[in-house]
Amino acid sequence: MSRDLRLHGDARRARFEALAPSLIEPLRRFLMRRTDPATAEDALSETLLVCWRRLEDAPAEPLPWAYGVARFCLANAERARRRQDRLVARITAVDPPRDHVPHHAAPDLSAALARLNPQDAELLRLWAWEDLGPADIAQVLGTTANAVSIRLHRARKKLKELLSSPASTGHEPTEGRKR
């Protein structure tokens, strides 16, 4: 005996209308922390669209899942923006590293984050700004809570090291993990 548990028509709309409004502010903040306002706005619309289309995938606590969708849409929106921005001129890759974040109250912290490997920086953002625990972070990133715990612990350690040696801030390409 099987039941079709999917909602259709009005019931589906009602579910989305109940769920989506409480996602919007967290999603806006998530996006605004990671890119410029115009790209964030595009990505927000796309994220809501994908959440609507994949509503059946939304868990009972949908926010980490929605962050995962937002990451995907942000990557797409950034690609589209880069294509629009692109000039024909060829410029060799040089510093400074791109800083997506429009404004930082603490430039040292911003510089330290930029020096981390992008995955570690993202772990720390999800931990500190989105205020997620390892299980939720794992859901956002599509990995295991265990892997997150280990990487997060290492990332925190690295950031602490960077912050405690301010003389080392400066322009360098983002490095991978150093031994």
Partner: protein, 203 residues
Amino acid sequence: MTDDDLRAQLRGADPAASLAPLPSDRRNDLVARAMADAPAQVGRPGARRPGRPWLLAAAAATLAAAAGIAVGLPAPGPDIRVGPSASPVVRAPIVSRITADGSGARSKCETPSVAELRSQDLAVEGTVRAISGTVATVDVIRVWRGPQADVVEITADSGTSEDVPRFEAGATYLIASRDGRMHECGLTGRAGPELLSLYDEAF
């Protein structure tokens, strides 16, 4: 420094700390629009909105910032703001260039390993935008190591276009290189789960 201290410090630098919430009518509008959109390809933002005036919106934000106007509500147009220092990002693309040796490197290949990957100075994920002659142009999606490039251009070194056959336009690859020479022994390839997990592990 404790973890709590670190978190407090990070929170103190939260760029969205002063982000004013959207008014409820704007929120409802966003929800309604998501449900109203006709099915279009996911992953192509802007495809359904030709002529989206994001440049105008960004320019407006710059003007507001220059005039020192504290951005508040209500206002027509986009409502996402970050504060007086918001500025649009429009700048020249950053391009990394590497060459594909193609001249028998394959005969000396060892099994791809994390250690080998860590010795590379560039490791990115990207989608091939175009192949023209001996040059493959790749739009970068993600950077594990190396400069935050927008684009990687891969030039086949030996002069024949056969050496860039593995790159197909529209496909996504993981690409590693050292000193400007692309690694061809298994560290560069299609972005499949095995290779992805190797990159994740290495960095």
